[in-house]
Amino acid sequence: MLLRCRIPLASFDLDIDASFDARVTAIFGPSGSGKTTLLDALAGLRNIAAGAIEIDGRTLFSSARGINLAPRKRGIGYVPQEGALFPHLSVQKNILFGAERDTDSGKSEPINMDHVLDILEISHLLPRPVTQLSGGEAQRVALARAILSRPRLLLLDEPLAALDIGLKERILPYLARVRDEFKIPMIYVTHNLTEVLTLADWVLMIRQGRLIAEGVPREKLISAEAVTQLADEQLENVLTVNFVQGNREAGNTQVRLASGTELFIPYLSSPENPEFQIRVSADDILVATERPNSISAGNILPGTIRKMDRLDGEAILTVLAGDEFLVRVTASAAKRLGLKEGTAVFLIIKTRSFSL
């Protein structure tokens, strides 16, 4: 996919030149950096001063060649931040609104509606008016509506931003399922690092209308530049694990990382899906240069510092301990322990510091 565009905005010009080919591409940047404008331009809802947009070798826009496909001919499904469900139509009519799209603009293979409804768990909502949906339900309905229009590309504009934290964590797995089931490439706009790390396999980092970095999220987002953008966001580790066993009396559950490393997390009876994701904040991991002997924490992982980014008063460590972990320590702690790239360390994580 090729995305080259210049759009003059009130306070800066949005000027992006990127070419990528990923299942989920995250557009990551602070509020007001031009992310939504970029999605609008892709969908054909906003004029582009100059540039070109190509998806799968199909030109949607080219100022040089005078091509500018109408939004309805672009075959792009758009889930805006507010969902934008049609308030006068039932859930069913909303969902089917795009199903009549002509085949030359959308994908030609049909998408089974029941399958979409199952994946998003919204079958029971069909007869309801959309005004009676909760925020999370409305987002899933908007997503189903976009998928059933058989798009060649899905645009998701901060689909979780309006939801509270509990709901966010429940919707995120649905997005991952959509990614895996329907094979529709997605562009996902967010300013939340966890969402990028959970969903995306490519990231475009945008600031003030400029592309400041692009690449694989784990590598790019851990740069000093990225972390400075996270002032109000938590720096979190998102790990995919497999259930091993739960022990109610001990109050913990044993899980295994892809690398084979085993961890203890708070007790779960038995998860629906044996593979699931857990999180731990980069601030909740302790670093020691020697293995501690008697300590309450349930997880002590030997590892090596692979990368160290120094910022004002703090250091972000990327530690390879089976999987990669991000750890944030103060500059003084890093100095006291003599931390540098290649140092062998132990990561100490309380069982209860992990969350789902």
Binding site: G44, L45, G77, P80, F86, P87, R101
Partner: protein
Amino acid sequence: MIFSFETWQITLFSISVGLASTLLILPFGIALAWFFARKEWPLKSVIETIALLPLVMPPVSTGLILLKIFGRRSPLGQWLYERGIEIVFNWKGVLIAMSVMSFPLLVRSVRTSFAEVNPRLEQIAATLGASPLRIFFVITIPLAYKGIVAGALLAFSRALGEFGATILLAGNIPGKTQTLSLAIYNYVQLGKDSEAYILLCITVVLAFMFVWSSEWLLRAGKKT
């Protein structure tokens, strides 16, 4: 109260021509209101002002303009006359006068209700593959329909109350062009006060019904 044949005749004539004028202007009013609410073009404000002019101009002045346009001595009047269509001093004159005078009210009300429809919904409908016509009829109109109905009711009430432009263009001919307003004026002139009061009651009841339902619809429209 027993209505005379004349009272019935005047009331029915007013209501039917008023209704016809509202139905006549509805498609044009909706189309123009949509262009005002959604499109930008050069001199838009000039066109908007012209469309709203009959609302503020003295109705008699508008009537005089219409008389000059449709009178037999004007090119248009002449052209129509040659085809057997006469506007002046018959019911068609009443229809034209009512339509022109109520048009701005319709456009204003409908334009406001279109402006209140979130354009984002129309944009998203377009990304889902809907044609502009489908968006208009399936998204915009249903979301604005309360304002459209309210505007039509207001326009109809305005048509019923029309006096100045009607009397200039269509005259005040009993049994031919006499509407409720014209008849009240006529009865008062002739000293037939009781007949005038009966018509007055009818106009008050009709006006109350229409304005009340139009306000009710506009309020209901805001809530959803």
